[in-house]
Symmetry: C2
């Protein structure tokens, strides 16, 4: 029928229509006192690109984002957070209702044990900041996984492949996207990325240097496959 | 004569013509490893406003700036730096030739003792970062002061007035601009500021809540006076 043909046409152009995709992006900031914080060099570009491309493919996209100077892509619902704890809460409160989570955020692994209420004065020549672990968001999601396709990123500087494979297993992910942030054209702040996608079935897909938009499209094609086919 | 009248007219509109003004702005970032850093919430707005207004008043303006998302104001020469050490070097190399330095930058007081060449893995439940003092840029400038008018900022959360007076003396400044960053409408990231200017002659000038542009103009009027009159 004509209706079926039209439906097929639109489903090809909007293959993620009807799917709820949650993307996390950017760095987190962990406060030391009212003016100082710990953070990292994540610009948010990879996550914002994925959120924007997923929306173009028809998905219902929520972008949980740490501090970033980037504009929110069209048709994306943004939730701004600052710390790892705020990001955890924002993601968990939405987790049950989503079909896929793509975690690009560079979440702080450690936060200061004590957050000083007043600006710390400079007195001593030396100072130590005591840190404690934050909750591992991806691992938490992996443990609670039901229908969700779960995709992680690994920004490493050494033994990228080995580390990615371990993380895929230990965090119960469906796919991990690994990059070596020390390579020119890969990683934080750049407009391009060089990644390898590792899937739970043992296959790996190395991509050449691509724009972050192109990486996003390749990644979302895999996510689409995982959403339609079986995944662990 | 007509020439004298024209000269007077233009000198009123461009009272800082012929003066070299160096402004520092923004936060610094102190690297912990290739992806993590320590920083602070300075947006750079106050310093960028001063640089822009000083250029409008005819000054030859150099803006030494830490990481900031703000656009460089027209007719301002910008020098981008990341760490406290880079800012120190950028300022010192220009210090001898300038007439005034206005230090709004929120320079890190401490930096990690060790910068790891590779991304630190999360292993232990707890971690300490050992910090050491950075060089106090303003104090260094105060010790080496000759012709320069030296203006500092104090972003404090307690005992603002007392701390400002002490800093004025100990760092050999001509003026210090103090604000309480805990007040609504003052401090980091806001478009307004509430400051008191303390001068070396014992006078203090409290300003109401003003836009950072208006604060910049009030401050530069005082700097103009210090450049023309005697200063310590």
């Amino acid at each position: 029928t004509i209706v079926a043909l039209i439906k097929e046409h639109f489903s090809q152009e909007r293959p993620l229509a009807g799917k709820k995709v949650l993307v996390t992006a950017g760095p987190t900031r962990e406060r030391i006192d009212p003016v100082r914080y710990l953070s990292n060099f994540s610009s948010g570009k990879m996550g914002y690109a994925i959120a924007g491309e997923a929306a173009k493919l028809g998905a219902d996209v929520t972008l949980v984002t740490g501090p970033s100077a980037l504009p929110i892509p069209p048709n994306v619902q943004a939730v701004s957070v600052e710390s790892a704890q705020e990001m955890l809460e924002a993601v968990l409160s939405r987790y049950d209702s989503v079909d896929a989570v793509i975690k690009t955020a560079a979440v702080a692994d450690y936060r200061p044990k004590t957050v000083h209420g007043e600006k710390m004065k400079k007195q001593a020549d030396e100072l130590v900041i005591e840190l404690e672990r934050t909750t591992d968001i991806l691992k938490t999601l992996g443990m609670r996984k039901r229908q969700q396709v779960l995709v992680g990123f690994a920004a490493e500087t050494t033994n990228v492949a080995e580390y990615a494979a371990g993380k895929l297993e230990s965090k119960n992910l469906d796919m991990i996207v690994a990059n070596d942030v020390t390579k020119a054209g890969a990683g934080f702040g750049t407009d391009t990325n060089i990644v390898t996608m590792y899937k739970r079935d043992g296959t790996s897909i190395p991509l050449p240097m691509l724009s972050k938009q192109e990486v996003a499209r390749s990644l979302l094609a895999e996510v689409q496959g995982l959403l339609n086919g079986g995944h662990v």
